[in-house]
Symmetry: C2
Subunit: 368 residues, 2 copies
């Protein structure tokens, strides 16, 4: 904690960057960008929820430091993460006459960050990119690690790139205006870090859930910084997801499947992976030795966070889910590969499972 | 020359690859891909000119070595290098259930290579990519160096990525079926390598133009290998175009501008940059000390290759050209930056020029 601000370093050689976490950081954004030597022109990509709240403040900060800004606002929601909008952004960037040393700034949640990041990764073959994640989910997950991209009709994140930001700035103030449901959705990724990597962090979350839900800045700063540090740790060991990084997908194969069959709208991402993680923990009891008691603790923590832990699917929905999962990027040689938990804080990757186990778990979570 | 085949190595660390140049190479393609350990599923992207001639042969070779192939055929021509087709390719790749270790094989000229390469660079955040360039232009230029991408309405190659192929295979036989105009267009890039990097190569081209135009395999193999080696040399020194690589753009700012204002259809790329290089050589006489005699030799060599060296533009076309050039990726701080020649074999980069010089050169080339 430096002057009320926590800094997490992401060391990736010449693509290294810092994540800054604290209150009232947005006003210092321009100065930060200047310190990094970014080009003087910038396009802010935001959405129609976040833009009205924070875009002017962002622009003032940048303009005060000598940057000239344009703004692109997209419709809020996962449905905007598509190629049509990417194309529109390209046309606008070309219209603004952005140059190679210009940069794109994502101001918003995961959708804005993923879309804006993909635009930055591919416009003029890649220009600089700054993330100002305004949702908890984006602050602890999507803004860290360089994965950017959009969805296809046939699956989530099927198109994308690895493009590291130059800076990530998490202003805790933005969480105060975040809808409650979105905030809880972000906690699904926070809890995940405990399950996959840090048993003590998981135990702390069990103790801290009250101040977390009360949005205590000190507690939020602590859990966001720890989440970012875990993700950064994993990502720096495996930038392009050839091995370790797969552990971050705990609960995501099923979660992405649920999002896909419900048309990316019914569930927030965190809600879908909350159900996905509970289902995966049940699979872990059956296949990787997770103690039933720990499986219960996992489910309890998601419940405490106010997240859904079950879903009742009819036969055709189950079929659609299996189909959607077979399109997942983690598929290899036609088989879906799962990340399973051995105990809270430790997982194993690349596990294939019989269809019967999946069917049985879908039955179990229908009762939750 | 190994067994009638020349090999140019492109050393880029863990992204290193080889360019194989020779006759009758297509039949060995599958074995080569196998030797590289590529995944067993592959999508061939080709066009409706090249596909009917070489796609079956390509598929047989791959299938003989145990690969399973699907084929996507696009309409031939620069107009296909657009985001709509990229989107269609993504949907088809998802439909074919391509996985992360699958690969995309580009069978065709520069348009196919650039489009297929961009699809490979971004599908599932990047999968393996093999280039089988079938035009001279693609063999000596676009297939080497990892630049992939598509055009926007507002400019050429404004969207793209750097994605190195795992293998480039230049089968000289494909040049025998290449339309004469396309073949000559490719020579514009070959001549460029002499101007920017290798005075002796330029002199050799002056001597060898007859066997080149007669498509002597020995001569073609020699000039293609030398062209690839020069490009590889430049690219390995500057993979992401932060400095030296800019010299490859000699004549391209004006050339791209001409392509843009004629709607990417009137001129072949090589024809546009032939005019662009002649115009740039005239600018070089005025601004970087190129001897008028050398400028004449440059123009003469393009004429010998059967390429256009002049264009007559009316006032509104001139205005449009200036506008198109100001959208060029080489623009910095609002000023267009040119690569100019000091002598044949040596250039200087990052030169800004007064508008009056450009106007005067456009007048000169109207007379050619």
């Amino acid at each position: 904690m430096v002057g009320g601000m926590r800094i997490v370093k992401v060391p990736l050689g010449d693509r290294s960057y810092r994540i800054r976490i604290g209150e009232n950081l947005l006003q210092g954004l321009g100065a930060e960008c200047r310190r990094l030597g970014l080009g003087r022109s910038c396009v802010i990509i935001t959405d129609d929820n976040v833009g009205p709240l924070y875009a002017s403040q962002t622009e003032w900060s940048l303009q005060d430091s000598g940057f000239s800004c344009c703004r692109i606002s997209i419709k809020a929601g996962e449905k905007s993460k598509n190629l049509r909008l990417v194309h529109q952004c390209y046309d606008q960037l070309a219209g603004f006459k952005l140059e190679r040393n210009s940069f794109v700034l994502a101001l918003g949640g995961g959708v804005v960050g993923d879309l804006a990041g993909f635009v930055a990764a591919t416009f003029l073959r890649g220009i600089d990119f700054v993330q100002v994640p305004t949702s908890l989910l984006a602050q602890v997950d999507s803004s860290v690690g360089g994965k950017v991209g959009v969805n296809l009709k046939s699956g989530k994140n099927l198109v994308g790139a690895f493009h590291q930001p130059r800076l990530v700035l998490c202003d805790l103030d933005t969480l105060q205006t975040l809808p409650e449901r979105e905030f809880r959705s972000g906690l699904a990724e926070v809890i995940k870090y405990g399950i996959i990597y840090d048993r003590r962090f998981f135990t702390n979350l069990e103790k801290l859930m009250d101040p977390i839900l009360a949005k205590s800045p000190e507690t939020l700063s602590r859990i966001i910084a720890r989440s970012c540090a875990i993700k950064a740790n994993v990502v720096t060991q495996d930038e392009r997801e050839t091995g370790l990084r797969a552990i971050l997908n705990y609960g995501h194969t099923i979660g992405h499947g649920l999002e896909a069959i419900s048309g990316y709208g019914k569930y927030l991402h965190g809600e879908a992976i909350s159900i996905g993680q509970v289902a995966t923990s049940l699979l872990s009891v059956a296949h990787s030795g997770l103690a039933p008691k720990e499986c219960d603790r996992i489910r309890q923590l998601f419940v405490m966070a106010g997240l859904p832990v079950g879903v009742r699917l009819n036969a055709s929905q189950k079929k659609a889910l299996n189909q959607a999962m077979s399109l997942d990027k983690k598929v290899r040689k036609g088989e879906i590969r799962f990340v399973l938990a051995k105990r809270i804080g430790e997982v194993c990757v690349d596990q294939s499972l019989p269809q019967s186990s999946l069917d049985s778990v879908l039955k179990q979570i229908a009762a939750f």
